[in-house]
């Protein structure tokens, strides 16, 4: 794939994370996560094409199954099961959220973070974009009040790290990547189970309403 194609993939990832910040429906958020993960799969596929390592193809397929098919399916099922389509508010209003998104993107592209974005100088734009997605995913986790979007934020953060490591030439062996994906599968399963249990106990997924533990 050309660098332009890879940049477009990262830009789609970037747009999905911006969309997750303003999305009003959990169903749409799950789909957006699926699209974002599909971009990661394509980036990994490009990496497989460059190395020709057949085990990497296995990792690509596994990522496809886990992140593009299984995870969004889990989320959409959860949304349907508990009728949770309307996503819960953000701490900051839309305007402030978007201003923060702009600031974080600017920080990721700033000269302060040059050591990170120039690990491979030829990939500077790609690394800066990956870093933006990472910062925006972290912001999503802290800004969203809904448990489902917090999970999606955590998984988006992980997607951004994967993209960053590929473009920084820090990809690990297939065996290690298998271990990481295995961990993620278990995490997704446990997290979605907990979301169901939280809803059962509290009747809401708004984390600001879940405050039994104030000392």
């Amino acid at each position: 794939m050309s660098i332009v194609t890879l940049k477009i993939l990262l830009e789609i990832m970037f747009l999905t994370i911006v969309f997750l910040h303003i999305s009003k429906k959990n169903y749409d958020a799950a789909i957006a996560y699926g699209i974002q993960s599909f971009c990661v799969v394509l980036i990994l596929f490009n990496s497989f094409q460059e190395t020709g390592n057949i085990l990497m193809l296995f990792i690509v397929l596994l990522t496809l199954v886990v992140k593009v098919i299984l995870a969004p399916t889990f989320f959409t099922r959860l949304v349907r099961k508990h009728d949770l389509n309307i996503s819960i508010n953000t701490y900051l209003n839309i305007s402030l959220t978007l201003i923060t998104v702009v600031i974080l993107t600017a920080i990721a592209h700033s000269s302060k973070l040059l050591p990170l974005t120039t690990i491979i100088p030829a990939n500077q734009t790609l690394l800066a974009l990956s870093l933006s997605v990472m910062l925006l995913a972290l912001f999503l986790i802290v800004n969203r009040q809904g448990a489902i979007l917090q999970i999606i934020g955590i998984l988006s953060f992980e997607n951004a790290i994967v993209a960053f490591t590929v473009f920084a030439g820090l990809e690990q062996s297939a065996a290690l990547q298998f271990g990481i994906i295995f961990d993620i599968v278990i995490w997704i399963t446990i997290a979605t189970t907990f979301v169901s249990m939280l809803y059962k106990h509290f009747g809401t997924l708004n984390v600001t309403s879940i405050k039994n533990l104030k000392e």
Binding site: P115, F194, L213, E215
Partner: protein, 480 residues
């Protein structure tokens, strides 16, 4: 070989739990697996003491500090398994949990123990990260074990805060791989190969990477301000799980941070990590010191005490010199005493049916052995004589007073404040007028023995350490 045997034994014990519903079999499997791990850990520790390192292929490697932590995990695991059997039996008898719940408990406990052994012994930073992540996954359901809304909330907080923390740690870990030239075939990256190639790292990236690692794994340790999950999780999890978290998981996460610290130091010098350790250490003493004055729950009190001790350990590594040796000793003493205190908190919970300090009064007249041990534990953990923590704190702060006098003085002042808060609560629980309805009963030996044995052990180790342990402590202090 011993290491693989230990890991597979825990795995088999977990499988036994899956295959059978016979409670006794599941309980014995957990105890036997922990006992085997203790024997195996002693063999490994002896080998490390004589040969400096224990290798099983390139994948597993244990150094002196790793061997010490293996010993800690196995001792705490065995006492936890023994205590859990009777504790859960009593909870079942009181209808606090259903009859089938201990099965789930022991399966997850065995997986948790296995993950900790793997985290310590894996020679690859990514595999170590996967193992640490596995500890989170295996324990989330243990925190929500009582299926109450508050327990669910604590588990959710634990799951999300630790997931974010560990992903940050993962990103930091990946940045260390810039030590290898792009496109070079690094093979299986080990801690040793990372260190050997550290000179190729950009110093700024090394600094950024260490900050990420410290925040990431520091979340697992519970350094302030990443500690928010800790009081909730410790407060809501069954008491023996609190013991495992505080006494075993905390040192494992510290070990991983220290391994990255060596690499960072070789790139940017000692001062950078030293200052970060001092900052996190001091913050981690300050918050518990003030929280201790207003706490209402004795399990949360133990959680804040763990945060404070993590702070003391970090200060020791920050001060350097003799304080590093003292910090290693502090890790050992803290783990043994804190596990004992968590078991005793379980005894209080069983007797008083409340974790609120205000509901526990005059325990010396209700559960006298538990109360005496609790007071001894309080003295040990706060650094009162004759326990070893007094010496470790003196060594840490006397080393610090020469190089960082203001930090040392502030740290000492905070420890005094913490002592006052802890003392106030401990005295209120043990003495005072017991509730009219509360009767004195004979205490179950299996709820006492694990705490008692740990307290005896810590007292012994305060005055005498076997030669192999001394060698391990000295080697670890030199290395870290």
């Amino acid at each position: 070989m011993e290491l693989l045997f230990i890991i597979s034994t825990f795995f088999i014990a977990a499988i036994i739990g899956l295959l059978t519903k016979r409670r006794r079999v599941i309980e014995y499997a957990a105890i036997i697996a922990s006992a085997i791990s203790l024997v195996g850990s002693f063999i490994i520790a002896n080998k490390v003491a004589t040969e400096k390192i224990y290798n099983v292929s390139a994948v597993f490697s244990i150094d002196a500090l790793g061997a010490i932590i293996l010993l800690i995990i196995s001792i705490v695991s065995l006492t936890t398994a023994i205590y859990s059997v009777e504790y859960l039996r009593q909870e079942t008898a009181k209808d606090i949990i259903r009859v089938n719940r201990p099965r789930q408990y022991f399966i997850l406990l065995n997986l948790f123990m296995m993950a900790m052994f793997m985290a310590v012994s894996f020679n690859n930073p990514i595999l170590a990260w996967i193992s640490i992540e596995a500890t989170s996954l295996s324990t989330a359901f243990l925190i929500s074990f009582y299926n109450k809304p508050s327990a669910m909330e604590a588990a959710w907080k634990y799951l999300t805060v630790n997931a974010v923390g560990l992903l940050i740690g993962f990103f930091g870990t990946m940045l260390y791989f810039t030590a290898f030239q792009p496109g070079s075939e690094a093979g299986l990256v080990t801690w040793q190969s990372l260190l050997a190639n550290a000179s190729h790292m950009n110093p700024i990236i090394a600094k950024i990477a260490f900050i990420f690692v410290l925040i990431g794994y520091g979340t697992k340790v519970g350094f302030v301000p990443m500690h928010t999950w800790k009081p909730d999780a410790y407060g809501k999890a069954p008491a023996p799980i609190g013991a495992m978290f505080s006494a075993a998981l905390l040192p494992v996460a510290i070990l991983i941070i220290l391994k990255f610290r060596i690499i960072t130091n070789s790139v940017v010098g000692v001062a950078f990590s030293q200052h970060l350790f001092l900052a996190f250490g001091l913050m981690s003493i300050a918050v518990p010191a003030f929280m201790m004055l207003i706490l209402k729950d004795y399990k949360r009190m133990l959680a804040y005490s763990s945060i404070e001790n993590a702070g003391v350990i970090a200060l020791g590594f920050g001060f350097g010199g003799i304080a590093i040796l003292a910090s290693i000793l502090h890790i050992i003493y803290h783990s043994l005493v804190k596990a004992s205190l968590f078991f005793l908190s379980g005894n209080y919970l069983l007797k008083y049916n409340s974790a609120k300090i205000e509901n526990v009064k005059g325990s010396i007249n209700v559960i006298p052995i538990t109360s005496v041990l609790f007071l001894a534990g309080f003295m040990a953990i706060t650094g009162a004589p004759p326990f070893g923590i007094l010496i470790t704190k003196i060594l840490i702060f006397s080393a610090g007073i020469k190089t960082y006098p203001i930090i040392s003085l502030i740290g000492l002042l905070l420890i005094v404040i913490l002592f006052i808060g802890f003392f106030k609560h401990a005295v209120a629980m043990v003495f005072g007028k017991k509730p009219e309805t509360m009767k004195r009963e004979k205490e179950n030996i299996w709820l006492i023995l694990p705490s008692l044995s740990l307290m005896v052990l810590v007292l012994l180790l305060s005055f005498y350490q076997p030669v192999f342990l001394q060698t391990l402590i000295n080697n670890a202090a030199l290395q870290y």
